[in-house]
């Protein structure tokens, strides 16, 4: 299912421009959305989820333009949404919470609904603790409940906003794998500022800053754009000079330092070109489109 966004803008209170004419096509499969905090990712997600109304522009989901409240409700029927700040009802157990959410998602048939809840509890490996109150869950467990609720209605469109923030490395890997498995037959939009999450799961991505999409394409295309701008600079110890962003600094075995930089080192520095990573590509994009002052989401 394709999601097409054209000239989307969102202005809060007539002053704060959170989105400035966003154009984007999100195809089937995993799609990554990268950007610094305040880039407008959450606002875009909320508009796609039907929570916020855009100031102008159009959104098409599966070819159908989302204009009215009825359109938004139709999208919500095929949507799974995991927000960045996942609030839950602390006194419900995971099983009860999922059952309640399933009722609100329109899964009216009791037997089928309960079976779905049990299957999802198993999928996210929470079956053993499903009767514990949510307030006793760790951050990672809550995230897993969050993804389970997003999958209750077997959504065609899954939107997950910063899903791995605050998770330990093992939880993050498990979560990324789960998302990749889910992307087989649906569109999964993964928003994050953790580059590694995108690198491990997505072929396609877009990058945003200051409410604009500054790149949209494949990871390979982004790496190609960055190639020639990534350097390794070795110095006896002092920081290298030039117009660049430092990505890493590593002490060398025989003394001195090696710096990985994105940009242009000053002439005369001992710089050798390096093969870019996705992180370098992201840094290059952000350098090219210097972020305007932060435009925080609501």
């Amino acid at each position: 299912m394709n999601v097409t966004i054209e000239n989307l803008t969102k202005v809060y209170g007539g002053k704060v421009h959170a989105l400035n004419g966003v154009n984007l096509t999100i195809p089937n499969g995993m799609f990554g959305l990268l950007g610094p905090n305040g880039a407008g990712k959450t606002t875009l997600m909320r508009i796609l989820a039907g929570i916020l109304h855009p100031t102008s522009g159009t959104v098409r989901v599966g070819g159908r333009e989302v204009k009215s409240e009825r359109d938004r409700t139709e999208v919500k029927r095929i949507l799974g949404y995991l927000p960045q700040e996942l609030g839950m009802y602390p006194d419900l157990s995971a099983r009860e919470f999922l059952d309640y959410m399933a009722i609100l998602k329109g899964l009216d048939e009791t037997k089928a609904r309960r079976a779905r809840v049990e299957w999802l509890l198993e999928t996210v490996a929470l079956k053993d603790v499903a009767n514990r109150k949510l307030k006793t869950y760790s951050g990672g467990m809550k995230r897993r409940v969050g993804i389970a609720q997003a999958l209750l209605n077997d959504p065609k469109l899954l939107i997950v906003d910063e899903p791995t923030a605050g998770l330990d490395p093992e939880e993050r890997i498990r979560f990324r794998n789960l998302l990749s498995e889910l992307a087989g037959n649906r569109t999964v939009l993964l928003s994050t500022h953790i580059v590694e999450d995108i690198a491990q799961t997505c072929q396609q991505l877009a990058a945003m800053t200051s409410g604009r999409v500054v790149f949209s394409g494949t990871i390979i295309e982004l790496l190609a754009q960055t190639r020639g701008h990534v350097w390794l600079v070795a110095t006896p110890g002092q920081k290298p000079e030039g117009d660049f962003t430092m990505v890493a600094a590593t002490p060398l075995a025989g003394g001195g330092m090696q710096y990985r930089v994105v940009g242009q080192p000053a002439q005369g520095m001992q710089a050798t070109p390096a093969e870019p990573t996705l992180e370098d590509g992201y840094v290059w994009l952000m350098r090219e489109h210097r972020a305007a002052p932060s435009l925080a989401a609501v």
Binding site: E96, L104, K105
Partner: protein, 233 residues
């Protein structure tokens, strides 16, 4: 809407809102009944016992319902999830308010029925007055509590305004009964002006205002941007 009527859905809504919010009106009604019982035990005058019971029926239960409605309208731990559901969030909130109001109405009906059967002297009005005595302030307090909590984006501030208005009316009940426009807002017309000519009009006006406040709450709940900003710091 039918999904809300299912037994498990009702159970979840009560648990999500907080069962203690539903216990509160019952607790208050029982508290006033005990206080009246103690007064009767001490052989207080019938008029004083009646005042105590009326204070519960017409005053305290509606106030606590207003406070609970403010809590329901303003607090939603899973707001963003609710807003992304096909079930409209404002329908969910309205349903929660209706549940609470209906529960409070049941408590009031039970209380008034006991009094009407056992201690008819305790009630200031008979007939349809049984109903209007508590329904009018209940709807007014419930409606304004919910609306203020949404408008101010702050439950404590909403309850502060409701509480001050309630005490103000109690203290200046004479003033409230003196002017045409204040008569329409008199929450305690049965306690202090049961025989007044404006009583029925006052009850109907309060009910009308209460419904109006609930309607405004319903329309205001559409403003998701306002809701997402949350309570002010």
């Amino acid at each position: 809407m039918s999904r809300f009527l299912r037994r498990e859905a009702l159970r979840y809504e009560v648990r999500v809102v907080g069962p203690w919010l539903f216990v509160l009106p019952l607790f208050v009604a029982v508290l006033f009944a005990i206080a009246a019982g103690m007064m009767a035990f001490k052989q207080a005058q019938h008029s004083d016992i009646s005042n105590m019971l009326m204070a519960g029926i017409e005053g305290a239960v509606p106030l606590v319902v207003g406070i609970a409605c403010a809590a329901i309208a303003s607090r939603e731990p899973a707001l963003e999830l609710q807003l992304a559901l096909p079930a409209q969030y404002r329908v969910t909130v309205l349903w929660r308010l209706v549940l609470l109001l209906a529960w409070a109405a049941l408590i009031e009906i039970a209380g008034v029925a006991v009094l009407a059967l056992a201690f008819p002297w305790a009630l200031h009005r008979a007939g349809s007055g049984y109903l209007l005595t508590w329904l009018a302030p209940l709807l007014w307090c419930g409606g304004i509590g919910a609306l203020l909590a949404l408008l101010l984006r702050n439950r404590a501030a909403a309850i502060a305004l409701l509480g001050v208005a309630w005490v103000f009316e109690l203290v200046f009940h004479g003033l409230m009964a003196s002017y045409g426009w204040t008569q329409a807002l008199d929450l305690f017309a049965t306690m202090f002006s049961a025989a007044a000519s404006f009583w029925l009009a006052n009850r109907l006006e309060l009910i009308g205002l209460g419904v109006l406040f609930l309607l405004a709450t319903w329309f205001y709940l559409r403003n998701t941007e306002w809701r997402l900003r949350g309570e002010d710091a």
